[in-house]
Symmetry: C2
Subunit: 334 residues, 2 copies
């Protein structure tokens, strides 16, 4: 058998039709018949080999929604035809301390769905069954993909660091991740502020769940917000004045960065020391956390705001992503 | 009445006898008859006006042990003659969110014992009674002072961040704070490693509670410790290769800095992101935390290793502190 995909054949190359033979299905694997696939900024970073770990032909796609088309002989917890999703990770060692503690997302040898593997810009994709998460019936497939990477990336720190409904949350960057963070934090019961440099996003941020917005280009506005937040989730991948944001945290507050910024965080110790503040980061979440996130999303009607393209428009969709104009997440469908 | 103290009259000046009239005792204050006073590196920083907030004549001393010699009319919870200690803070607003939550040490308007006030290098010192903590009978006064600033500074993060007895703790810098951190972490039930650049401190670190030591000057030794620690407490106030230390943390680990380093922490996001790691800092602890720390110290026989001078040898003692040779904390006594 063959899998029909879209691949780039060199760093930054256009996506072209690509067929490959995936070989025999592993005992612990499932094969997913792909219906939809969200596009994440890391698909673009990987396509361009920005992190130096890409292999070509490179098939993007790690926000996959589809149905179980085949399953390995050891797989009993997923049914043929069941609706599922696949995110950044397509496999875990299952035995390290992190895996054994339920923190599969922190497994040092976890396999990335598009790292040394072919992703979900395809008619089928394979993954270790443990990394594949059932989709609640109430969630529409065409809008579910972005939850599996962008969504869990901002949901996870809310769980991991014990965010309380009485807390005040700031979200920096209202894009693919940030527009979901606003929805999660609002449904979590929190007071929610959107930091955005785009005045055009003020009303949209309010519609997405923010109680108010702060224009992050105005130093005075940041100063006026001194001591306001228990948690700030920064979703941008550019360097900001992190010390100015530290000052907007309450005592014991946390600045949590989920964007992979290449520049060092030149943090000053004093605002951290005086207020017992923390700075942290995290990757996506574990399958168990994804499961809880989906359940929470279903209960609260949380849904990505999406733009839709067909898989054969993948290059157009990637260009749209790169333009930074997409509001807020792009999904490809067959 | 007058208080007889030792004061510097200019930045970096020698300490000379100094008398001042403290005025009427405040309703919420106590006057402590000073018996002993530890010396902290921040006494030296303040004497030299390194932080730009010193006032002269400057009386150092914020690790004070003595007895209650007088109390204001509102003070009912401390008895005349009761043995007490006074640390970095000599007063709190008592009504802000931090104070009302028991986090007096994070009160934005807390008064520093030697910031705009005269400290404990004196026969008497005054402070808001709420900031003065009774000393358990079993703790010898001559060895108690260093617990009130150096001790609580390293004990506090163990409490605040939920250190578990099953955790592995690293302590960077075996000096006034670090030698207490080793003792606390060992008594806490943890696996304890001392990072030290001084080979001469290897055996001393083991005696103080470390299970092993790592020579922090050996890059290979740091690399070999990858993924080992749940918590690292850095007690140094110089810039180290923080990213190398981040790599020695387990997933979910925390690098906690209690030294006031002036250089920015040029942290790389990737070791934080991949392992969901945190970097944080904190000041001293609240009076309630100091109380628990003293009880814990009494139960476990935790005691600073000290060198002793008389108050009239204060300049000699400060020079000894500045030399970096003191093992590990200096205490002045009358």
């Amino acid at each position: 058998m063959t899998i029909t995909a879209y691949a780039a054949f060199e760093p930054g190359g256009k996506l072209k039709p690509f067929e490959y033979d995936p070989g025999p299905l592993g005992r612990d694997e499932v094969e997913i018949a792909v219906e939809h696939c969200g596009i994440c900024h890391s698909d673009l970073s990987m396509l361009n080999n920005e992190w130096g770990i890409s292999e070509y032909p490179f098939v993007p796609g790690h926000e996959v929604i589809g149905t179980v088309a085949a399953r390995g002989e050891n797989v009993g917890h997923l049914d043929l035809g069941q609706r599922v999703g696949l995110g950044w990770h397509a496999g875990y060692c299952m035995t390290c301390g992190s895996c054994m503690s339920g923190d599969h997302n922190l497994c040092a040898t976890a396999a990335g769905t598009i790292v040394g593997r072919h992703g979900g810009f395809a008619d089928k994709v394979r993954a270790q069954a443990a990394s594949v998460v059932p989709l609640p019936g109430i969630i529409e497939g065409a809008f579910a993909g972005p939850l599996f990477c962008g969504g869990i990336t901002v949901f996870n720190p809310m769980e991991q660091f014990g965010l309380r409904p009485t807390d005040t949350v700031g979200v920096i960057g209202i894009g693919g991740l940030g527009h979901l963070a606003l929805q999660f934090a609002r449904a979590w019961g929190c007071k929610v502020t959107a930091f955005t440099s785009s005045t055009g996003k003020h009303n949209e941020a309010l519609r997405l769940g923010a109680h108010d917005t702060i224009n992050s280009r105005e130093a005075e506005a940041l100063e006026a917000a001194a001591g306001r937040f228990d948690l700030i989730i920064a979703t941008v991948n550019v360097k900001l004045d992190w010390n100015a944001y530290l000052n907007t945290l309450k005592p014991k507050g946390r600045l949590h960065l989920v964007g992979a910024t290449l520049e060092p965080l030149d943090l000053s110790i004093f605002p951290m020391l005086m207020g017992q503040r923390s700075v942290s980061s995290s990757p996506v979440g574990s399958p168990a956390a994804i499961n809880r996130m989906l359940d929470f999303s279903a209960r609260h009607g949380i849904r990505p705001v999406t733009e839709h393209y067909r898989f054969d428009q993948a290059n157009e969709a990637m260009a749209r992503l790169e333009s930074g104009q997409a509001r807020y997440r792009i999904v490809l469908s067959h």
